[in-house]
């Protein structure tokens, strides 16, 4: 306990310097700015804004990125409530009741309760990270290559099961990501693999090229094609601070949402995405009058939004302690950290404690900023929603182009990104959801490394992964992986799963 407090105070010492507060503020602000744009979810927002952190020191850059992430999350909820367009899967639920509230002239209260719920969830999640960080990192040291490999296999299985749409297609995307990760120079022999003799491919496909191509460019192409009918709420936003009645109604859902979301967020694989759904279903089940849901029930905004934010934040735990990103957004964070020369994993905490705890503390500050800054700025965000797409997408493109160029100062990278944009557009046309691909791509390299290490240690025997005497953790993780896949493929469950993800 004392340890946690001293860690947190170290973190706040780092995060509360004027420069880092300013960076956190800027991150939250631009994150919301881009995240509010309809059809631009957190993944796209972070990939678009990645370049603006390039010039900073690693700690500052990570603090800013964390700010961008919360900003993007919050911006997504704003769009969901005001325009009825979910930026990503996790804000789908918010559109159900949030937009209804907005239509009834209670948009301000919906936004307010979303922000307050998120802030509360963020506070709790920060504490959880601080409390679990040290013990989990110690546990990570027990993990050998075999356990790491099995953990990643389990994470990918979860990601398959929890992806939107067809399981088979999500599986395809993960494998494709893994396949892409093998491009480049082989780790041991130095042989070039699948590079087609292109020099810039010998280091592998650049992460930012893939991310911006598939999530920046391809999204633009997708949005250009279906000019979505924007149902911007005409009614007044109304007052932002919920009244006593509202708070009393929302308090319990916020607590439950935080709890559910926080726990699901820790799961490797995309656990965080389940939080809002679980919370919404739970609130609906508990409610005295379930028929109110879908017609502007405040519980239907408060619960899922808290779950969303709690999960979004506890998703950092596997990343910071084990170095394994649980979802596509965190995969993006890995890419960002690597660009700044930090390899995520248990060693971050011991080697750069001020970076680790500074980032944890800045998460809390970021949440606070969202509350104090973004709520008063809601009017501005509404204006932003009225910017026509014909001007928005060229702006997105130039941000992406400058960003990609700045990663390596390589003009050729821009052309590569355009190619990946085309590829991503093709995937979208074929009905594939590309987010799992990014996760597979980031985990692929790590998996190959760990697989080889494990096999060298075991002298080439695959038995090492299921050796219940020597490596019970690895066996357990693999069993969970198989169980999850098997359960998801059961007809009854897969039908239910479809319902959940289409609701």
């Amino acid at each position: 306990m004392m340890e946690t407090i001293s860690h947190l105070s170290l973190g706040f010492g780092v995060a509360l310097t004027l420069k880092n507060i300013a960076l956190c503020f800027a991150g939250c602000l631009v994150g919301t700015l881009i995240g509010v744009l309809p059809g631009v979810g957190p993944i796209a927002t972070i990939s678009i804004l990645l370049p603006i952190t390039f010039g900073l020191d690693p700690t500052g850059a990570l603090i800013m990125l964390a700010g961008i992430y919360y900003g993007a999350q919050y911006g997504g909820s704003t769009t969901a409530i005001l325009v009825n367009i979910p930026g990503e899967a996790t804000s789908v639920v918010t559109t159900l009741d949030g937009h209804q509230m907005a239509k009834q002239g209670r948009a301000g209260i919906a936004l307010g309760i979303a922000a307050i719920g998120s802030f509360f969830a963020g506070c709790v999640a920060t504490l959880i990270i601080a409390a679990l960080g040290a013990p989990l990192t110690k546990m990570a040291l027990l993990f050998g290559p075999a356990e790491y490999f099995s953990l990643m296999v389990m994470g990918l299985c979860f990601a398959v099961v929890l992806a939107r749409g067809s399981i088979l297609k999500a599986f395809c995307m993960i494998m494709l990501g893994l396949l892409f990760s093998t491009v480049g120079t082989d780790l041991e022999t130095g042989q070039e693999r699948l590079t087609f003799g292109v020099a810039s491919l010998s280091d592998g496909i650049d992460f930012s090229v893939l991310a911006m191509g598939v999530f920046g460019f391809a999204e633009v192409l997708r949005n250009l094609e279906n000019p979505e009918a924007r149902d911007v709420v005409k009614a007044k936003i109304g007052r932002l601070l919920p009244g006593w009645e509202d708070i009393k109604q929302a308090a319990a859902p916020v607590l439950r949402g935080t709890f559910v979301g926080g726990i699901l967020g820790i799961l490797p694989g995309n656990g965080a995405v389940l939080g809002p759904f679980a919370s919404y279903t739970m609130e609906k089940k508990i409610a005295r009058d379930p028929s109110r849901f879908g017609k502007g029930a405040i519980e239907g905004v408060a619960g899922p939004e808290s779950a969303n934010n709690a999960g979004a934040q506890t998703a950092f735990i596997p990343l910071l302690t084990l170095g394994i990103p649980p979802n596509a957004v965190m995969a993006l964070m890995v890419g960002a950290m690597t660009i700044h020369g930090i390899i995520p994993g248990p060693q971050v905490m011991t080697r750069n404690p001020e970076l680790f705890w500074g980032m944890v503390a800045s998460m809390w500050i970021g949440n606070l900023m969202l509350l104090v800054i973004n709520l008063p700025l809601v009017g501005m965000w509404v204006k932003l929603l009225q910017v026509p797409y014909r001007l928005m997408f060229p702006a997105i493109l130039i941000f992406c182009c400058i960003g990609i160029y700045s990663v390596n100062n390589q003009p050729l990278d821009v052309a590569f990104t355009a190619l990946f944009g085309l590829f991503g557009y093709l995937l979208i046309k074929l009905g594939f959801e590309p987010a799992p691909m990014l996760l597979g791509f980031v985990l692929g390299k790590l998996m190959e490394e760990k697989l080889r290490q494990a096999l060298i240690i075991s002298r080439g025997s695959f038995y090492t992964f299921i050796d219940y005497q020597e490596r019970p953790i690895s066996l357990a993780l693999l069993i969970v992986a198989v169980l999850v896949l098997a359960i998801a493929l059961l007809p009854a469950i897969s039908k239910k799963r479809e319902e959940v993800f289409t609701e």
Partner: protein
């Protein structure tokens, strides 16, 4: 007889062109990856070679693609929708123009001088902006200049990224 059984009795035909094409796409990619990693030694289980994982992943991709195509014969799903060539041409073309002009390039007889962000920026915005159905040229022109100026201020001066501005004019 339930509806499903009636459907099944009608024999195999493509019931979801999107899934079917998706499956074929995966198979093609897998074959491509397999062919291009042909030369790489796969090694043995004891000592994995550089070719083992690319080949293994490609094989799984191909298998999944096959399953997807086959499932499209049985289950109904989305139809394949048309492409928007205009978006691809203008938006991605704009990005390529940016890449070509930002630092210049030489390709055989074609030679483009390094024009820098001052030219490449407005060029990208204007060209890609043509992709929108509701484009308005004067507005787009003004926006191209204003947005580029904002980007120059942000990236070159506020964030001091080493990006050429206009080497032919300003020398930076």
């Amino acid at each position: 007889m339930s509806l499903n059984q009636i459907e099944r009795a009608q024999g195999l035909r493509i019931r979801s062109t999107q899934d079917f094409a998706g499956g074929l796409f995966m198979i093609l990619l897998a074959i491509g990856a397999y062919v291009f990693s042909w030369e790489l030694p796969a090694g043995t289980l004891r000592q994995l070679g550089p070719g083992m994982l690319p080949k293994a992943f490609a094989a799984i991709c191909g298998l999944l693609g096959l399953m997807l195509s086959l499932s499209a014969l049985r289950y109904h799903g989305e139809k394949l929708a048309g492409w928007s060539w205009r978006g691809i041409f203008f938006a991605l073309g704009g990005a390529c123009l940016f890449g070509l002009t930002i630092r210049g390039f030489e390709f055989g007889p074609i030679r483009v001088p390094a024009l820098g962000l001052m030219v490449a920026g407005p060029l990208l915005i204007f060209f890609s902006g043509l992709a929108a159905d509701d484009r308005k040229l004067p507005e787009l022109l003004i926006f191209a200049v204003a947005m580029s100026a904002a980007c120059i201020l942000l990236f070159k001066y506020a964030l001091s990224l080493p990006i050429p501005l206009a080497p032919w004019l300003l020398g930076i």
